[in-house]
């Protein structure tokens, strides 16, 4: 009996580990997770639908790829390493346009007022979802074992894996919009 229990536990552990590390090199993004699933309101008639998940929410490789692309595609230019600069910070609890994966996807693809460019047609879907996973890991929205635990840069920021998860709150006004235009 104990041997069976041990075997089951081992299998579960190994399988979970496989999924976390799975590398999907030639992936076509799921067609269901399109920006039209984005909801700008928490209110809804009838029963609440589960929030849409991103394809890399449980995949450590995807989040790490997102971390690489975050530098490659110059997200650091405005958001720095998460602390913000010209653009709003990404490692805090404030989410102007929503914290769900679909919200972040829409922000990247559509762009946002006051400076966020639209990357539609420039970054393919799988890479946008990898960026979504990484951006959400910055404030601890992903599982701890999925978040990147090492940075390729020489910096003093704690790795995403060590971050205490923030509870997303909604901030209605983009900081950049507070200033006179």
């Amino acid at each position: 009996m104990r041997a069976i229990a041990l075997g089951v536990l081992l299998t579960v552990t190994i399988t979970a580990g496989c999924q976390r590390e799975q590398r999907r090199f030639s992936e076509v993004s799921p067609a269901t997770a399109r920006p039209d699933t984005v909801r700008m309101s928490q209110l809804q008639p009838g029963g609440a639908r589960a929030a849409a998940t991103g394809p890399y929410d449980a995949n450590g490789w995807g989040a790490a790829e997102g971390q690489r692309l975050y530098t490659w595609f110059n997200c650091v230019g405005c958001h720095a390493q998460g602390g913000g600069g010209i653009g709003p910070p990404l490692m805090d609890d404030k989410w102007i346009y929503g914290s769900e994966p679909a919200n972040v996807y829409a922000s990247i693809v559509q762009g946002r007022p006051n400076g966020m460019p639209s990357f539609a047609g420039k970054i393919n879907d799988a890479q946008v979802w990898q960026l979504v996973a990484y951006v959400r890991s910055m404030s601890g929205q992903l599982r701890k074992d999925v978040r990147p635990n090492r940075s390729d840069h020489m910096n003093v920021k704690e790795p995403e894996a060590s971050k205490t998860p923030e509870r997303p709150t909604s901030a209605n006004v983009p900081p950049s919009a507070e200033r006179a235009q």
């Binding site: 090199f25 030639s26 047609g121 420039k122 970054i123 393919n124 799988a126 890479q127 020489m154």
Partner: protein, 338 residues
Amino acid sequence: MNATSRLAIAYGVLAGCSRAQSALHPAGPQAGRIAALWWLMFWVSAAVFGAVVVGLAIAAVRGRRRGQADVTGAPVANGGDEPGKVAVVTVCTAVTVVVIFVLLVVSVMTDRGLAMLATHDPLTVEVTGHQWWWEVDYDDSTPSQRVTTANEIHIPVGQPVLFKLTSRDVIHSFWIPNLHGKTDLIPGYVTRTWIQADVPGTFRGQCAEFCGVQHAHMALVVVAEPPEKFQAWLAQQRQPAAAPAEPLAQRGHDVFVTGPCVLCHAIRGTIAMSRAGPDLTHLATRGTLAAGTISNTPGHLAGWILDPQSAKPGALMPATSLGSEDLQALLAYLGMLR
């Protein structure tokens, strides 16, 4: 053994004889020193191996004779009655010490020789390792005269070339067996190596430090050519990309700068300036794509753009979906980047 497996073995043996990537076919002074040391060690080791086998055979035969003489079962004194035993052991030990010492001295001298390549008037080439390709920059005091290319290094024959090596991500190793030994590329640190080719030729190099899933497909080509031919090549590489004249190539240019290509690649002379991926300014002059993985033909290029992961699984270039007309236009544009 069937014909197929015999062929496979023959191919494996013959592949080792290819001269394009072989430390035993030196094309420069340093590879010459390394090859000479290799052959010395090979022949010394072969002689030692032969002597050991002969000694073992003599011992076996003599021990067998003695065993036959001793059928009474009386215990034999442990070789104490062997004449000259001490002398034989002493001589063998002395010979071993001398041989190893000679090899030590010769390898130290070879190492010194490798580090003492004449350093006057060098050409400086900066090589940056990436997963999984090589960025190549020809240094110049005038910034606009710098040349950036990828995976293909041209060098003049008879002139020492200083390579400054570094890495963008993990540790790689720069190895062109026909010209020199290996030198590692370390992230955040510049290592140096000197190379000189004495004969013109095309030599294949290879990353020699495991660096990820596509380590095996991280090759580069070194083209050693006469100085005047090299200068002509360099002057041509300094030119920005020509503006497209035909409408098809013009459309390809628009596909490039408005599509996803522009996020990672640079083409000097256009607004594409990213350095995340290889510089494509003179792509059509290069012989291979994806760091020596496939040859640079329009068909391969189309396959590489649409589905890089089937040619090089794990490569950091993502698949790009393009309509057939856009693809043909893009191929026309990339094909004119000479």
